[in-house]
Symmetry: C2
Subunit: 448 residues, 2 copies
């Protein structure tokens, strides 16, 4: 993509309303723009990150056997009366009447709707277990939206719902999502720690939040320090096998959010030099709630012996639109964002130091073509801005690698490659640069 | 994908509420399920079709130089007051107040929001022209939603917005989208005819609707019969060249929706044997409206000579979620849907005639593995349903090819390949079947 044809209205100043680094850099890097309080447009650069994150989530959901569908944003109030949640849910639910005065709402979550879909679609025990998920916009009318997309009102969520015949089966479905989440967040370059959590308006008695540590986190968290470096399961994990050992390994060490924190147990269980207390950002939340929805909504199937079985359910959320911000909180420096390759909006930023110079233009186009042929996503700064501005923009938007091409270097057959993370700049031939970039990008695309 | 692990709750009976064939088959094939009046969930099979359609649209928008972003579903009423449309827009706009009593709405279209994004992002004539698009859910509170997703209330739309310095430039941007639409619909297997159209609440004085002919269409249309078979531009089309010749070729023959129809001109312009009057379904609509939004909303840039230029704008919509239904209206038979390969939810349906039989199971798994390795999307019916039911389901859901494997055939080294469209069934060796399927799918994936 040529920058001269792209839409990247970066800001030179940090907007005053942005308090945390991710909000500041997302606005400055023209990833998002506020449309109204807590509601954002995703500009082209931000949308590319969001889509790459979605793709990783989808891949790991599918790997764990979950099946994608898509439920609408608008739901009927009557549906929520079936479960009894319509009156219980607070003012965060956006409610309104349509032109026929029917009561409707903008879905903040989808337990009720998916229960009707599944209930109406299956008859027999042979149709279970299943896990159905979607990635859809939700609305929660936060009283004080803030921190940009970190705590917005309209937000993108991946929510999965499992249906099982037995509590034991439901526990296995829960464990599958537990493991899928470990893999998903690791692939996004995040160290997420599962922590015992309250279940809130979703309900149930088994629940974990997946938390990343960041100074700007909204809640205090406490855990065993070793959890931060614990290795996640590989891509070859068999989701049909017993996963309880893996879950056990991740849940046997102390880890809790402040609502669940027990200081005495923390001190008894964790040696003093391993006691990590920090701020955390919630990026995922999983629940097992048994028959809370299936019972009142009549989600039952015929068992092998003819009797009716009320389904065991769980739900599993990832805050998709919060993740770009969470990744930035975990990966930035004074110059801007430092994207991990798997979610970078472009993988290489190509800087032409003298746009309009025939040889430099030709060299850049040649390099861009070769990188794109190799499947690398390139943003080519072909504008006539001065070099300093180009460097600042590339550092700000945080592409993992920069390829810097100028007339002087070209005369001695050289270009420069900059690694955004280390800041290291290396001079080499264009061919060597191509090779290095293709190798580095390919290596870093996948989880080690 | 194994059917035994998928979610495909097909219906044996045609639901009474469905009047047209696309609505009937989409419900029966478990592509969609109604959530409330005019609001649908997209079940796994339907979502796959929707995503494939989206991908074709995206590819052709990008090819024409449009840049993707994503605006939110919820907008503020104040934004619509800037353009003067808030009071002008009828009861189809879903309006409500948030918890702070701020007036909001669920966007039925995005001219206002994109104008603020562009206005705030650009300063100079050098930042133009641009075309920004998104694919996002919209809401129009139809008084009588019907025909399933054909006239729903919550619907997915691709809307693009062009910004130019001059009326001439805007006309070129309009022509680019005109050509992109011709290509898009042809790739989806549709014969879409551009017709002069009214501009309605969008405004402006130049507008074309893209219409496909179908007996169940909502409006009467009149055109020169030759338009139906006119060839669309190839993938090598250069969007920077003058496109007015192509547009001229498509607009010089008579073609009009009933609002614009002039019977006298129709009879004068079109020979009697070429006068086609039929029912049509609108699948795209493009508009040039000059400064209708940029003027009141102050979308101006600095020109080369320092003076301010008010931007020339157009907008370009495709009814994405209506397209699966439109394609079905154009491509079905008595047994069900007949998907063109580019939008088929799966490309091959593999039918095991004796699931549980060791040799048949092994042969099927081997064939599925080989097809998937070749990049073919396979739905494998490994259930214990009887053969007749399996055939009926495969015909209903309309996968382009069926590969039928049974113990008897296997003993003589044979399987069967069925072409869904022609109904032709051919017996051959498994290897020959693989070759034929891979070749056929690859050939039919792209626009000839």
């Amino acid at each position: 993509m040529r920058l001269s044809r792209y839409f990247l209205p970066v800001l030179r100043e940090t907007p005053k309303e942005a308090e945390i680094i991710s909000h500041q850099t997302m606005l400055r890097a023209a990833m998002i723009k506020q449309a109204s309080a807590g509601i954002y447009s995703w500009l082209p650069l931000g949308l590319k990150v969001l889509r790459k994150i979605e793709a990783v989530i989808r891949e790991e959901q599918n790997r764990a056997g979950a099946i994608e569908l898509l439920m609408p944003t608008i739901q009927s109030a009557d549906l929520w009366r079936e479960s009894g949640r319509y009156d219980a849910y607070g003012p965060e639910m956006l409610r309104f009447a349509d032109r026929h005065e029917r009561e409707m709402l903008y879905g903040p979550t989808n337990e009720e709707l998916i229960t009707t879909i599944f209930r109406d679609g299956v008859r027999s025990y042979r149709d279970l277990p299943r896990n159905l998920y979607h990635i859809q916009w939700k609305f929660r009318d936060e009283v004080r939206p803030r921190f940009g997309v970190m705590r917005g009102r309209e937000f993108l969520m991946k929510d999965a719902y499992s249906f099982d015949l037995t509590a034991e089966g439901a526990r296995h479905s829960y464990n599958k999502m537990f493991v899928a989440y470990l893999r998903t967040f690791a692939r996004l370059g995040l160290k997420a720690i599962p922590m015992a959590a309250d279940t809130g308006p979703i309900g149930g008695d088994l629940s974990h939040e997946f938390i990343i540590l960041a100074g700007t986190g909204e809640s205090a968290v406490y855990c065993h320090a070793d959890l931060v470096s614990q290795k996640v399961p590989g891509a070859d994990i068999d989701f049909d096998q017993d996963l309880s050992g893996i879950v056990q390994k991740w849940t046997s060490s102390y880890a809790a959010t402040d609502e669940k924190h027990d200081q005495a147990r923390f001190e008894a269980d964790v040696p003093a030099d391993k006691r990590l207390s920090a701020r955390g950002i919630e990026i995922g939340h999983i629940f097992y709630f048994g028959t809370k929805y299936s019972e009142p909504m009549g989600a039952r199937v015929q068992g092998p012996d003819g009797q009716k079985i009320t389904l065991q359910m769980g739900s599993y959320g990832i805050g998709v639109s919060r993740l770009p911000a969470a990744i930035i909180e975990a990966s930035h420096d004074a110059s801007g964002i430092v994207w991990p390759v798997p979610v970078a909006p472009f993988e290489v930023g190509l800087i032409n130091l003298k746009a309009g110079d025939k040889d430099t233009d030709a060299a850049c186009l040649d390099l861009m073509g070769k990188l794109e042929t190799a499947g690398i996503d390139v943003l080519y700064d072909d504008t006539d801005e001065r070099a300093g501005g180009k460097f600042a923009t590339m550092d700000l938007i945080g592409l993992p690698f920069q390829l810097i091409v100028g007339p002087k270097g070209l005369k001695s057959g050289e270009v420069e490659v900059k690694d955004r993370k280390s800041g290291e700049r290396t001079t080499m031939t264009p061919d060597a640069a191509l090779q290095k970039l293709v190798d580095s990008v390919r290596t870093q695309r996948v989880l080690a």
